[in-house]
Amino acid sequence: MQHRILIIGNGDDAAMAARAVVAVGMEALVIGEGAFPIADDRVTYKDGWTLKHIEGQIGAFEAVFDTSDGEQTETVSSIIAATGADMVPCSLMNSAGDKAVSFKDLPALLNAKEYTLPMAVVFIQDADVDDGQWVSAIGINLARQVRKMWGCDVYYLCRFIRGSHFEVENAYRMARAEGVVFIKYSKDSLAVMPAEGKTTVSFNDYTQEISIQADMVVMSDVLKPQTQTSSLTQKLGIGINHEGFFQYDNAYYPFTATNRRGVYVIGACKGPAGLNDVSGDAAYTALDIKIQLDELRPIADVIAEINLFKCSLCLTCLRFCPHGALHVSDDMPSMVVYDMACQGCGICGAVCPAEAINLADNGKALMKESSGQKRLKVYCCKNSAKKALDAINMVAQLPQGVELAEMPCSGSIKPEELVNDIYAGFQRILILACYSDACRHVNGNADMRRQMKALQDTLADMGIARDSIVVMDVAGPSSDDVLEKINSAYNAIGLEVAL
């Protein structure tokens, strides 16, 4: 089957994505505003189309567009957002006078025929924010061109050169060999001021105050999210980070995949980090899509099932599912699950007021039964605590009376389960969850904490100590920490002052 991938955006990033998609034998449907650089019969470009909303799941997303001919619906197998970002001059530009240009504007000057050659050119990066590696890549290459074409003194002021990519590292070495002078300045020491036909750049290089009289200052641009970012992330059902770029600040989404299976983000729309290696990201993304589509299967062992006779269509699960895996059925009065999108986190089951959602055993599996008197029950998130315990194979050595259960996400815990545990005799329940910015299911940890707070309040009203329920965050690799937390929760049983 021929897979068609929707690419949103028509800039360099989108072009990179389209090339990568075509390179692995798929088709691209690209939407944007204005011209698109690629002409290829496997790439269809729709100028002026904007995304209205999407439904469906990987393999068969229904994308609805606003076009000049009214609404259009297209079925696509996967979606890549590559809308780019806005480049704005850094704030020092305001005070720098007319001898200052931005990285973006320099190439036009270099190509201009008539120009009074400058004697000294100062490049500046990291003035407003710590620019990423991509900025260094652009800046260093511009500095080398200036040095080569104009033969003048070239200073390159920066706070950091991130050379983790070999091309940047290479350019940096070449630039130094060609005579570009790199200087590291201390934070907040930089000032750029026009002075008698020149521009004075002053800063502290950690040893002394330095000031350079420049004929031209070239400053890096700052990346800003486009205004449409937030509405587009909502339409796509994916996250936004604290700076307003695409995708969550979450350890599980460092690359191009998002919380919604089959939807990817690449390039500048992810913020500076997205520009580190756009071509690599595009190639990886296209390949990942192809591999998933060629043999499409659920990604979770256990996925949610909804009992249509119990569902009251309250929409609560829909509001909570972090993976866009639920939708209202077209032909039944019930919510239904997209089987390829569900990641089995169980968050929906924990919030459903009708108990209409079932994951086998609510996704919980017993790791160790308690022997003797029941003392401590530990719920281990399978993304962290479970891994940590498996790694050191310590389960057998835990004290008597400890029972361990594995859960797909801490967000899957239902308050009534814990009440039943206390009823069964456990004196304390310990929930070992992932750190909240590392929750595989985005908000599972936060959802669980709210429910647990409400449960503790209720239990306290009944005269049951709040710390009968203890929540702790742990990380996958830290086995010792997990063990220590289990032991301390165990040892503190009975020590707490009631209420």
Binding site: A354, N420, Y423, D461, M462
Partner: protein
């Protein structure tokens, strides 16, 4: 929908104290959707009842069931056995459902698990707000689709009162002034003239007064 809120657990535990076999009965419609009395809340309450009984050394059993709507006898008839076996039914429906049980099972104790709050809707996840006061004679056509009775703190038919500030109500700055909303919406739909429509004091015989109200659906009612 009818929006409810679970009563505090201590109040409920106190309420069921005289009874040994309690049926905790959820309602599968309004109180499910308003997250106050569906199967989940009923199961949670049952678990708490059992836990409390174990803690205090009482002999209490709690069973849980949910019906589609407690406010229809047919749905209640489906669980006649369960109701018979219980000493008391702790109902998680709104006041309508609770009374329906009392009526259908004249010798059974029925207890309210939920405080019935208002007719409203979710304005964000887990947050509900009143929209209609059931006045019996709707005037939304003249008030831009925004109910001054339910949403103006003083239920002014002819507003605003003059105390609003920055669009917020003087009674509580967290509440939008209903009349500010009404004005803006009338303006948006080009019906500002409706502001001038004066209403005489409301005839509450359509609404709260005049004894228990009853409605016949002509053409259907026998």
């Amino acid at each position: 929908m009818i929006v409810g809120q679970e009563k505090p657990v201590t109040e409920l535990l106190d309420m069921i104290k005289p009874y040994k076999r309690v049926l905790v009965l959820g309602c599968g419609t309004c109180t499910t959707v308003s997250l106050a009395g569906g199967q989940k809340e009923a199961e949670f309450m049952s678990a708490l009842i059992k836990l409390n009984a174990a803690k205090t050394g009482q002999d209490v059993t709690a069973t849980t069931e949910t019906v589609k709507r407690q406010c229809e006898w047919e749905f209640l008839d489906d669980i006649a056995d369960l109701i018979e076996q219980a000493d008391a039914v702790l109902s998680f429906a709104c006041g309508v459902g609770i009374q329906a049980i009392a009526e259908r099972y004249p010798d059974k104790v029925v207890l309210p698990g939920v405080n019935t709050k208002f007719m409203g809707m979710p304005i964000e996840t887990g947050v509900f707000q009143v929209r209609c006061a059931g006045c019996g004679n709707c005037i939304l056509d003249k008030r831009g689709g925004i109910c001054p009775i339910a949403r103006c703190s003083k239920s002014l038919l002819n507003g605003p009162c003059g105390g609003a500030e920055d669009g917020k109500c003087e009674v509580n700055p967290e509440i939008d002034c209903a009349w500010y909303l009404i004005y803006n919406r009338l303006k948006a739909i080009g019906r500002l003239d409706d502001m001038k429509q004066f209403f005489e004091p409301k005839d509450w015989s359509y609404g709260r007064d005049g004894g228990a109200r009853k409605l016949r659906k002509e053409g259907i009612a026998l």
